[in-house]
């Protein structure tokens, strides 16, 4: 397997792992406080819809001419990656609260307890809907990464494998500890994924627009390094500025 394939596998693994952790928190909160059967049916239904999306859109994406695909996928990865990177920088610098799985678990569980089912033995529509929505919305981001990265590498199965390993790993660890996976360094992973998506987006978007990169494929590594250094420097500068502002205010 070459470096590009490892990059594909790693990006899809990291993006999927962090989204699965978020979905797992919702499912666990709903399952514990409501009804496991209805909750798991919601999970299965969402996974079925997501798998159908990959199966439907995947072959069509691979058939698009490579330059058009690079431009479209590059643009999508850029707008998507910049969202991840922006949020990660804001969290790292203190302008946005860190993602707290324990707090999210407590909130979801409290909401689920507020409206108990009239008949505990019947199908719980609330639990089904909440777990379906949680898994589908978080999973949609995974599907996006798997399809775009996979299509441009011409290897959707490898991207799907990275996602499947991540989902399997998070579920196994989650079931073993039976608690929200609050120790996963979500912001660091999101920072990394944001850098990867943005860098690949810059590389493929510009190539799709007709640019020839100096050094060809080696330029990608330089883009990753420059993007990472720029993002880390921005986060550090904003953190300093925020702390200075707080000190002046106090």
């Amino acid at each position: 397997m070459n470096a590009s394939a490892w990059g594909l596998l790693l990006s899809s693994f990291l993006a999927s792992a962090v989204e699965t952790v978020e979905a797992f928190t919702i499912v666990l909160a709903v399952g514990i406080t409501r009804d496991w059967k209805s909750t798991l049916l919601g999970v299965l239904a969402a996974l079925g819809v997501l798998a159908a999306l990959v199966a439907l859109l995947g072959p069509g994406l691979v058939a698009i001419p490579i330059n058009v695909l690079r431009l479209v996928v590059g643009a999508l990865l850029l707008v998507f990656g910049l969202q991840w990177l922006r949020k990660a920088i804001l969290r790292a610098s203190g302008y946005k609260a860190m993602h707290d799985e324990v707090a999210i678990f407590a909130r979801e569980a409290a909401e689920a307890r507020e409206n108990p089912p009239a008949d505990p033995s019947a199908f719980d529509q609330y639990a089904f809907s909440l777990s379906f929505k949680g898994v589908f919305l978080e999973g949609l981001e995974v599907v996006f990464v798997v399809l775009t990265f996979g299509a441009i590498h011409g290897n959707i199965p490898l991207a799907a494998l990275g996602a499947a390993i991540a989902v399997g790993l998070v579920v196994i660890v989650g079931l073993a500890v039976r608690a929200p996976l609050s120790k996963v360094p979500e912001n660091t992973v999101k920072f990394t994924v944001g850098i990867m998506l943005t860098s690949f987006g810059i590389f493929w978007g510009a190539e799709g627009a007709g640019v020839t990169w100096p050094g060809n494929d080696a330029a990608l590594l330089a883009i990753v390094v420059v993007t990472a250094l720029g993002a880390l420097a921005s986060a550090a500068a904003m953190k300093r500025e925020r702390e200075h502002g707080l000190a002046v205010a106090a």
Partner: protein, 69 residues
């Protein structure tokens, strides 16, 4: 009609997210690059420049909103 509106709002939020200025920077950067390539140039630096500018402006707005300079 409500379902279409909700789906459009969901798509906007999913793709564009919190700040449309970053998406605009991406579209402008790619369009400017394609135009320059069509005119015989190889502006490989143009997309990174627009991306850095878009992200920088977006972050600066958050800092200003929170009382920064």
């Amino acid at each position: 009609m409500n379902a279409i509106k909700s789906f459009a709002a969901f798509l906007y939020d999913f793709i564009v997210g919190d700040d449309w200025r970053m998406s605009l920077a991406v579209v402008l950067g790619l369009a400017a690059t394609a135009l320059a390539v069509h005119s015989g140039f190889n502006p490989w630096w143009l997309v990174p420049l627009f991306v850095a500018g878009g992200l920088g402006i977006s972050l600066r707005r958050v800092v200003r909103k929170n009382g920064g300079s």
